[in-house]
């Protein structure tokens, strides 16, 4: 397993539903083949209607999350209002590009609900935003970085399980299946999963059991 994005392992995936949105991540934190902990946080609640998931190098996940918290808090203090999800999505992209020549080795996914409509955006490590698809993946169980292998990936699982306009319960089930199938075949991801489903009313968190390897 070479490559700085695969060093710590981990996978994340996001999916849009009908007036709801869900993010899922695995819980593994490792150093190449060795697993260090099984409860590493990769999804962060930035605001009641914004979730940020980060895959990639663990130190940059923690640093980038702290940076986004800082920028969001400063925005709240200066503008005296909450940030819109689409604005936050833009903020993530520009913050990544700020480090164009010394990038954060992260694969972020932003999920939010803006006036009831789901917002889902994914980026490469230097801020190229992709927000047109109904689901987005990041991390080692996607096939972003491992171009030499035919990867067992969450993409495949997502594509087969996804349907447009899923209800929150259905979305949770679909995303759980996609994450578990993807992670069970990826050595660098797993050790449990978490699915966050965001609706207008609340965010629910479900814990998943994956293959414990």
């Amino acid at each position: 397993m070479s490559g700085i994005f695969e060093y710590n392992g981990g996978s994340i995936v996001g999916m849009k539903g009908k007036n709801c949105i869900a993010l899922a991540c695995d819980r593994r934190f490792g150093q190449q083949m060795q697993t260090i902990t099984m409860n590493f946080q990769k999804v962060f609640k930035m605001q009641d209607n914004i979730l940020l998931a980060l895959g990639g190098l663990a130190t940059d996940i923690q640093t980038f999350h702290a940076l986004m918290e800082y920028k969001l808090n400063l925005y709240n203090l200066k503008e005296n209002r909450k940030m819109k999800p689409s604005t936050f999505a833009n903020l993530v992209a520009s913050s990544l590009y700020e480090r164009r020549f010394s990038p954060f080795f992260v694969s972020p996914i932003v999920a939010g609900l803006e006036e009831g409509k789901p917002v889902l955006a994914t980026y490469d490590s230097i801020g190229c935003t992709s927000d047109l698809d109904n689901f987005q993946v990041g991390g080692t169980a996607s096939d972003q970085q491992n171009i030499n292998f035919i990867l067992p990936s969450i993409y495949g699982a997502c594509e087969s399980f996804f349907k447009p306009d899923l209800s929150p319960e259905e979305l949770e089930e679909v995303l759980a299946q996609a994450l578990v199938s993807g992670c069970d075949r990826d050595a660098a991801s797993g050790w449990g999963g978490l699915v966050y489903v965001m609706t207008e009313k609340n965010i629910t968190i479900k814990f998943l059991k994956t293959k414990q390897t």
Partner: protein, 194 residues
């Protein structure tokens, strides 16, 4: 080559380190203390090349003291861990480069809750209940996972550490005859030699 391993119990943490210092094929010293006492309730075990290890632990120790004098109170465990993580994370993209050492921070807060943190040279931080740095991980993580249970008392904790030391001495290629073990409780930091 350094072995640092640690376990958290009901109201204490134990961090152990091997004492050997090597230079190519030579063992220069066999009782080097690689666990720095940061405060009267926290210790930092650092694993890495001699100079980086000494430099980093001293740097952290003195900076924490500075914060204590400037603000009037010492940092708690969580704050200390995040402070150390920040130093690591800042360093990786700096002119001087990363701090080439990994650490385990252990201590007990004023209210009696013990905590243990694993930090690597890049700045990844994880709160753990048992862990190891260096080659020790390959031999001991399985053993620690197997033996650990919630709310271990002190005797059980020390027994587990003894088993870990026995494992390292049996199976690790590099002979590590002496281990320094620091036990941190709310009231004191005890050091024993195993």
């Amino acid at each position: 080559m350094d072995s640092i391993f640690a376990i958290q119990g009901k109201d204490y943490v134990i961090i152990a380190c091997d004492g050997s210092v090597g230079f190519s094929i030579l063992k220069i010293k066999d009782l080097e203390d690689k666990i720095t006492v940061l405060d009267d309730n926290k210790v930092l075990g650092v694993s890495g090349e001699g100079a980086d290890r000494n430099n980093f632990s001293e740097f952290i120790h003195k900076n924490l003291n500075l914060i204590k004098y400037r603000t009037g109170n010492a940092l708690g465990m969580n704050e200390t861990a995040n402070f150390i993580r920040y130093q690591y994370a800042q360093a990786i993209r700096s002119r001087s480069g990363p701090h080439n050492c990994n650490s385990i921070l252990g201590g007990v807060d004023k209210d009696g809750t013990p905590s243990l943190f694993w930090l690597d040279y890049l700045g990844a931080l994880q709160k753990i209940t048992r862990g190891a740095q260096g080659y020790a991980g390959y031999f001991l993580l399985g053993l620690l996972d197997n033996q650990y249970k919630k709310d271990l008392n002190l005797e059980e904790g020390i027994e587990i550490i003894k088993k870990c030391i026995h494992e390292m001495q049996t199976r690790f290629l590099i002979s590590q005859s002496k281990f320094i073990v620091k036990i941190v409780t709310k009231d004191e930091i005890k050091q024993i030699l195993l």
